[in-house]
């Protein structure tokens, strides 16, 4: 694992609830509050997908959320990493037999880090995000090696 000091930039995080029971969501929020306080390491929970490096999804994806999840992922700029948090996000959890649930997040978008638990604990989420940072670095290096995509010319 790459130590935190290695990172030059603060990773911003976008959280979306793709049909979770709230259990994992409040644990994601708990990561921001004084006991865990990930903001002191520069991890910021943003509401804007265009600002985010990490997409943190809780809950199994249901039929109505499929398009929203795809949309959020598409709006994020490269390099980007997806973290699935909680039993439902991994496989559908207790809801996997349900008629309205597609299953884990990886049925819809590619997932890089899987965080288990029902409800997943804040420590586990933080560990998952730290692992996601290593993936993010790797993806960034890969992008650099291949060369950045051509920027459109600015209008005169």
């Amino acid at each position: 694992m790459i130590p935190m000091a290695f990172f030059k930039k603060s990773p911003w995080l976008l959280h979306y609830d793709a049909s979770s029971c709230n259990g994992c969501d409040i644990e994601v929020l708990a990561c921001l509050t004084p006991i865990y306080d990930v903001e002191r390491f520069g991890v910021i929970n943003t509401g804007n997908p265009k600002h985010a490096d990490i997409l943190l999804i809780t809950g199994a994806v249901n039929a109505q959320n499929e398009e929203v999840v795809r949309n959020l992922y598409a709006q994020m700029a490269d390099p980007k990493v997806v973290v699935a948090a909680g039993a439902c996000a991994l496989s559908g959890g207790v809801f996997q037999d349900s008629y309205n649930v597609l299953g884990g997040v990886d049925r819809v978008i590619p997932v890089d880090v899987y965080v288990p638990g029902c409800a997943t604990r804040p420590e586990a989420i933080i560990d998952g995000v730290v692992q996601a940072l290593a993936v993010l670095e790797r993806k960034a290096a890969e992008m650099k090696r291949r060369g950045a995509p051509e920027q459109p010319e600015k209008p005169a």
């Binding site: 979306y16 609830d17 049909s19 979770s20 029971c21 709230n22 259990g23 994992c24 969501d25 409040i26 644990e27 929020l29 708990a30 509050t33 004084p34 006991i35 943003t46 509401g47 804007n48 997908p49 809950g59 199994a60 249901n62 109505q64 959320n65 929203v68 959020l72 207790v94 809801f95 037999d97 349900s98 008629y99 309205n100 649930v101 029902c118 409800a119 604990r121």
Partner: protein, 359 residues
């Protein structure tokens, strides 16, 4: 006549921890109508009762919502126990009250924090959640889980809490109560909080009754209605009265929840003082045949569970009417005519739990 514009609000929005979509029909800066569209967290949970064993279903019922988790499993178990005509041990009923009230404090603290965040009082949000973490430690110590307790089962509770642990619990709760009083004073008296909450989103008493509001939304409009008065579990042995406020605005709903936190501390103290010795679970024999409505008080209001069994281990029908669903019509009413910047705070004061409402 000004032109109407429609502003989409959600499903993914910085102030929303859960997805819901509102189309806000605006005339200049005023909201004239709010049109909700829901279904983002629908998991088809009621239908699952037909596939799962009725005892196994207790843990799925707990996952209707991760915030009011314990009371959901408690309500489901009460309904099934009534159909089975199963008498559960008195000690289990008292333990259910203790965990139920702890879950109420945790839910109200969570809500107070989110509200502080919604009106931009970041440090108050952090302090409220710092206190909530202390409570979560106590919940973990007694039940084993932080947000999903997993202790309620058909026939009683899964684990006992011994006298020593109950004493430790009381001592820790006393510390926490003093801290909560400090936070409560900020919500009740701080000038900037007052300006943000007073007179916003007023729901008059008659409207609240006509539109079927429940819980703190109803009690904030001066109606002393609380399902715990039915005396289920061990509430019949405890001495208390529903908390009400008269004003009906956002501040009144906030004050009701704050005073309910204090009341819950008191209820836990009473329950610990009166808890009898004995077993904590009864043996479950047979399968449910017949139907029953169970009514309980969630942190967000009255919740109704309907179960219908046909004598097999799978239920024929399971239905939940959650408090957020009952509070949506009053919410749409008070959103009409409000200013756009007040929308998040008004939506929050009914304490919406989308995952309960959609299941």
């Amino acid at each position: 006549m000004s032109r109407r514009t429609i502003i989409p609000f959600g499903p993914q929005h910085p102030v929303l921890p859960e997805p819901i979509h509102l189309d806000l029909v605006m005339e200049d800066e005023k909201v004239v109508e709010a049109i909700p569209s829901i279904g983002f967290i629908h998991r088809g949970l009621e239908k699952m009762a037909e596939k799962k064993d009725f005892q196994e279903m207790a843990y799925i019922a707990e996952r209707i919502c991760g915030i009011c988790s314990f009371i959901h499993s408690m309500g489901y178990c009460q309904a099934i126990e009534a159909v089975l005509r199963l008498e559960i041990p008195r000690r289990a009923e008292f333990l259910r009250v203790i965990w139920g009230e702890m879950s109420r404090i945790h839910s109200h603290l969570l809500w107070l924090g989110l509200t502080a965040d919604a009106f931009g009082f970041e440090s108050l949000f952090m302090h409220t959640w710092r206190l909530r973490e202390k409570l979560l430690d106590l919940i973990e110590e007694t039940s084993g889980g932080r947000v999903i307790f997993g202790v309620c089962k058909v026939g009683g509770v899964r684990r006992d809490v011994d006298a020593e642990a109950l004493d430790r619990l009381l001592a820790a709760l006393a510390d926490l109560e003093a801290d909560c009083r400090e936070i409560a004073a900020v919500f009740a008296r701080d000038a900037s909080v007052q300006r943000r909450l007073s007179g916003i989103g007023v729901l008059p008493k008659e409207e609240a009754l006509r539109l079927g509001a429940v819980g703190p939304t109803l009690r904030g409009s001066g109606v002393p209605s609380d399902s715990r008065r039915l005396g289920y579990a061990a509430y019949d042995a405890l001495d208390w009265a529903p908390v009400t406020e008269e004003a009906g605005d956002c501040r009144a709903r906030c004050l009701v929840r704050m005073r309910e936190i204090a009341q819950s501390f008191d209820l836990i103290r009473q329950a610990v003082a009166k808890i009898p010795e004995g077993p904590v679970s009864a043996k479950v024999v047979g399968a449910p045949r017949g139907e029953y409505f169970a009514r309980l008080e969630q942190p967000r209001g009255e919740v109704v569970y309907y179960v219908k069994g046909n004598g097999t281990k799978h239920l024929e029908r399971f239905r939940v009417r959650t408090p957020t669903f009952a509070n949506l019509p009053p919410l749409l009413k008070i959103l009409q005519g409000c200013e756009l910047p007040d929308v998040p705070i008004i939506v929050l004061t009914i304490d919406p739990c989308i995952s309960c409402a959609e299941r």
